[in-house]
Symmetry: C2
Subunit: 449 residues, 2 copies
């Protein structure tokens, strides 16, 4: 436990010294253990495990571009992302792990107590036991606070989902070297720092967003108070039935058709410089990396990764309606998601990809977000996406209050919801996408700067 | 409106005389408008519309049989099943339709106000306008009471879902000849009659199960009173978080892998007598029918249908726990469902299919259901499945109170939930399967005999 955050930072710096990792880019065709399937060109591991890079063909997307093809990560198995919670002196603490991932821009980030793929769990690669896993698999002790199968980045993954679970225990829990207990208030503060709380931690914590806020003072005359009121609000612009109906309606409008194709056949992409790149150098590249680590189950391996071309912008516009803070949520066609449409932040894009498109096709509300005056930006921090699959993938996460007079009447793919409604929706899979869940965590664990 | 149900029956009998339909079995290879795709043998319509009969390969099912192949209906588009509700003298009424379907054992059944496939809506087959559709498509008047994308029979359909929507209006609604208003109490009574309320009506009404019951008297010393208490109960054996966690856990155990294959390649099935039949004459057959109707958008057509071999048993065991009625729900691997696992009734099977399997593989709790004494059977009625795709598909739906001393401790794929919890879960898609939703409607619209 840390009394002051400076102790945490000292500990974390020390972990960065002892958990060493070395990552080198290598050409895809030199990846040890991986090969292009002779029939399809798909990148597959020799065990058939881990994941596959295949091709995806999309038509009638209803997005800025109607049809395209792209490489896609296929990993149908479900992993476990679990956070252990325990009260110390009446304050809930999370057991988090200082974990190296090859794609992390800074090497080490804070991951959940358990972040295990099915391959880790079944030890397909002959690694070590996953510590603390027994708290998250049945029959288990402890009280489950949240447990749901949630989707991951649908632009890069095909129907990938992981179990997001939070378990509260009372018993003594031995703390291994790479692990530490952080209190909810400490987590609030650390979530403001860039590239520290990894994506898995953020998505799991979304399940506790309701719990965390209930400690907030809803009478407080501050943005934090407004968030607490939004969390407790019995009133909302739209009833839950209306919100769910809006979501169902959006699914009805979705005409997306997709099917996997051989990676060899993906048009608009080509092998260049040892990687697979978009012909206009947009979106992302598939690259190869060689990793040496002294703190992982396996100490030396090579793998393909997705490297996005630019930094994304992920933002919720918020507005006080009838005295209650509402968030502008988007029913977004999520090309790779199991269920096609998910609820997403108001804005979620890589602005660079839109440079070559006509103005009219620029993402809605992007200008409101990027042009907001400083006093309306309530949260602004750059965070990383999953460093096990994505190389240096960073997004700028924002929470922006709209200007007075901003129209409550929004286009059909958007609607206003309260924080209370979001904390209800996050309990059910296939509703909030991973980007919305990250932002929900920032809202739930919000602290004034 | 009908003051007495006898008036309804007279009206319905009259409808049966004026809405005439003639259905004849014909060999599959003589079906007009349909042909076997030369590459796959799949049955496809010449327009490419409606649906396709393809093959499905399943492995690691976790069911009585681990792996098999079968024909499957593929119809990825979403249709609309909508019921219009309006109060007359303070009593809610539903606008239902006397509708002929070729697969109905008795021709005419009561369907929702709107029961339209995407093909109907877009008029791919050049049919008439769908009456009342405007109440269910945006922008619409009226108050939405329920609106969710729900799954259909996963043993016969691949990832088929329809929008289930209930809209309440105050305005005057003109009533066409085939339509009638039925009050909630009248619906309660009619749900006890066999093969009258079609599957689509039952699944949509599940969205109103909570509303309907709130009229029930929870102080009543009767089974109906116990249902009302279960609907209102703040207490339950398991919290909602625990129920959702149990569901997520079951999804984690699911190892089902499936992929479509050419219908020609389905092993264990063969073309015999103009149909596609299982080699042991189990499960179902794919047959062809020719239809002549004078009351449908199109008056004459031919189509393939699935004809089950035997009548199924679909039942919830119920038990009073801590004074509140609980239902024993099953996390069932639903082979064709989008999300693999859904919540199902305690028992859901075609008993005949298990005759040749060892005793140990008989469905759990089937004997408790079939062997229950009469005083413990609270509901017992035979109903039809969708008559547009399934030929004479009937299931016996039961609600059975367990004997005193029945163990509350149940196998891992089962858990106890209250009616209140089920009415919450039915708001979210991919949770309750269509059979559970039918039973939920019987619970929600329950009346003592």
């Amino acid at each position: 436990m840390f009394t002051h955050l400076s102790e945490f930072h000292a500990w974390f710096a020390h972990r960065g010294e002892v958990q060493r990792q070395h990552v080198t880019r290598i050409p895809l065709d030199e990846l040890g253990g991986w090969a292009a399937d002779p029939r399809t060109g798909n990148l597959v591991h020799r065990t058939g495990g881990f994941f596959t890079v295949a091709g995806l063909d999309l038509t009638r997307s209803g997005r800025g571009v109607e049809a395209w093809q792209q490489p896609i990560l296929v990993q149908p198995e479900q992993g476990v992302l679990g956070i252990l919670v325990k009260d110390f002196d009446g304050v809930p603490h999370c057991l988090l792990q200082a974990k190296m991932e090859p794609g992390n821009v800074n090497g080490l980030q804070l991951s959940p107590t358990v972040q295990a793929t099915r391959s880790n769990i079944s030890k397909i690669h002959g690694g070590r036991d996953v510590p603390y896993l027994q708290y998250f698999t049945a029959p288990r002790k402890g009280l489950v606070l949240s447990d749901v199968l949630q989707s991951e980045q649908a632009s890069w993954f095909l129907a990938k989902r992981n179990r997001n679970i939070i378990v509260r225990v009372d018993e003594h829990v031995p703390v291994l070297d790479e692990f530490c207990w952080l209190s909810f208030p400490q987590i609030c503060a650390l979530l403001r720092l860039p590239n520290l709380m990894n994506m898995d931690t953020r998505t799991v914590l979304a399940g506790a967003a309701g719990i965390s806020l209930s400690g907030g003072d809803s009478t407080e005359d501050s943005f934090r108070g407004a968030l607490a009121r939004s969390r407790e609000a019995e009133v909302s612009l739209h009833s839950m039935v209306e919100v769910l109906s809006w979501f169902t309606e959006a699914k009805g409008r979705c005409t997306l058709t997709r099917h996997t194709i051989p990676l060899d056949k993906v048009s608009g992409w080509s092998r260049r410089d040892g990687a697979i790149k978009h012909d206009l150098d947009l979106h992302f590249s598939v690259i190869g990396v060689a990793v040496e680590s002294d703190s992982r189950e396996v100490t030396r391996w090579q793998q393909p990764m997705f490297e996005p071309r630019g930094q994304g912008v992920i933002a919720f516009l918020v507005k006080s309606i009838r005295g209650v803070l509402h968030l502008l949520v988007q029913a977004r066609i999520e090309t790779g998601a199991l269920d096609g449409v998910e609820m997403a932040p108001t804005v979620q894009c890589q602005p660079e990809n839109y440079k070559w498109l006509p103005e009219a096709r620029r993402p809605l509300f992007l200008d409101e977000v990027l042009g907001a005056s400083e006093d309306r930006i309530r949260f602004d921090s750059v965070h990383s996406e999953e460093g096990g699959r994505f190389y240096h993938a960073r997004n700028r996460y924002l929470m922006v209050e709209v200007e007075d007079g901003f129209d409550s009447d929004v286009p059909e793919d958007y609607t206003w919801v309260t924080l209370r409604q979001l904390t209800e929706l996050v309990r059910y899979g296939n509703h909030l996408n991973v980007e919305a869940r990250s932002l929900l965590t920032f809202f739930g664990f919000y602290e004034e700067e």
